[in-house]
Amino acid sequence: MVTDEQMIAALRDTTQTLTADIVGRDDSLSDLLHQLPARQRQPRNRRTLPAILAGAAVAASVTAVALVGAHLVGTVRTPAEPGTAITSGGPYPTSAYFLGQHARDHATPDTVVVRVSDGKTVTTLPRFGNNGLDSPVLSPDGTRIYAAWGANPAHLGYYDLTSGRRVTLDTRPGILIGPSVSADGNTLAYEWSATLGDPEHSTSVVILDLRNGATQVLRDAPAGPQVLSMALSPDGTRLAVVPTKTTSRPLLLVSTATSDAFRAATTISSGSCSTQTAEPRWTRHGLYALRFCGNNRVNLIAVDPRGGTTARIQQLRTGGITAFTPIPGNDGDLFAIADQTQTPPTTPVGIYDPGSGWSHRTVAGIDGLQEVTSE
């Protein structure tokens, strides 16, 4: 005689077999999102929307890191809190993994996840079409890769490393680029250039609270997207920004909570080196950036965000730095650094420990880095 437990188990087994491979429609979410602006104007016509979306998904790709700051124009809350945005226990926490690129000399290089302990590539991310993911960054808990894709409308969202799904968090006309995640995982910042072709005057920064969907737009940033970069503080309340509107490219600190963010910016002293700063990164252990000192020297520096003082961590005797990223540990940060002394596509990535020097001097198969945030 069959027991209740056997029958329930058989029912579960049957339904799980039936549905195990189901992942749903790829265009489901895009379809829904594109109905939002029109939903009060006209009845839906779902069957006509995929074609519209297919056109919107083809886009120009912007290759640089981003940012800016400026005028807070308002905070909007979602009508309901859809739940926590960050889950725990992701497969690739930034304390042990970082993002890199294969074949950087290609127009759309593959983004890969690299394990710090042995330099091995553990996974290659899907490309999502011809243009791939733009400016990908790994979430601190290793569950998501935030990135941008498409243009007019642009999309900003994440690739879920556990489910393999791509989720749109924001879509706007123009270009979205350069996401930065705070070290606590709660805040996302990214650049929005609303008017294509006019990057010097139409750039804004969107601050998104991942816990409740609240957004703030810091408008009228002083530069375009080409060579800008930014990093959120660990608690998401400040941005370290390198603008390009000025000729000196200083490192600026601005608040994400005030309407006059850029008017009240704190400029970090350039010290004895030049004033060309780039690529800020901000972990719970410290704020870092690159500072260019002549044609063949780049300093990796630590910045005290309270006092504005800087200290050199390492002088990199190379012709230039492609990218670097801090790898947060319990007691401090290691640094993965890609330099340009080697001819692409085999530019190596080194792991630098401020306490003991270089290790894993060459990470096989990686020829570039993407921005990576920290815990």
Partner: protein, 180 residues
């Protein structure tokens, strides 16, 4: 149209809503499609039911004020959408084809073992309320309270229908001498 800050009118509100819809979609879409698939006979139909559910959610957005209400609303929409499709399918088959109701599609049969086909066929032949309770309770693994909310019935009704549904399946298994 632009606001005085140069932002398209309504854009900010829609961005925020877009974010919330994205989160809900990320959390529930796949599980709802899987739930719907147990009730209807093809994956395409299940996807359409769930897509309709999210579209209804968007249309009623202003009336839903918390996450629990949205979760519950989505489940209700999916269950009701599946019922509608089953009803239409039954009517279509009985009025136009004049053939006995066949609960398993070719897609079902391709995916399942013989034993699993027997189980699913039996579940789908149960009275609708028993069928829905069993699938929500034991496949979607909702609590009795959540099943009651999704089906708009009392917890007592959920409990009794779950008991009756399992008993009916056991009786059928004994009658047809299913091998375990």
């Amino acid at each position: 149209m632009l606001t005085d800050q140069g932002q398209p009118a309504g854009l900010t509100a829609n961005m925020s809503m877009a974010w919330a819809v994205s989160e809900l979609h990320a959390r529930h879409y796949v599980s709802l499609v899987r739930l719907a698939r147990t009730l209807v006979d093809s994956t395409d139909s299940a996807e359409e039911v769930v897509q309709d559910a999210f579209e209804r959610l968007i249309r009623r957005w202003d009336r839903l004020h918390d996450v629990q209400a949205m979760d519950s609303y989505l489940r209700r929409c999916v269950v009701n959408g599946c019922r509608d499709r089953i009803r239409r399918r039954v009517v279509r088959r009985t009025t136009t084809l004049e053939t006995p109701l066949i609960t398993l599609s070719a897609e079902d049969r391709a995916l399942l073992s013989d034993q699993q086909q027997r189980v699913l066929d039996a579940v789908r032949r149960l009275p609708p309320r028993q069928r829905d309770v069993l699938l929500l309770r034991y496949f979607a693994q909702l609590s009795e309270a959540e099943v009651a909310d999704a089906l708009d019935v009392s917890k007592g009704t959920v409990k009794s229908n779950a008991h009756k549904g399992i008993a009916a399946l056991r009786a059928l298994a004994a009658k047809e001498a299913w091998q375990w």
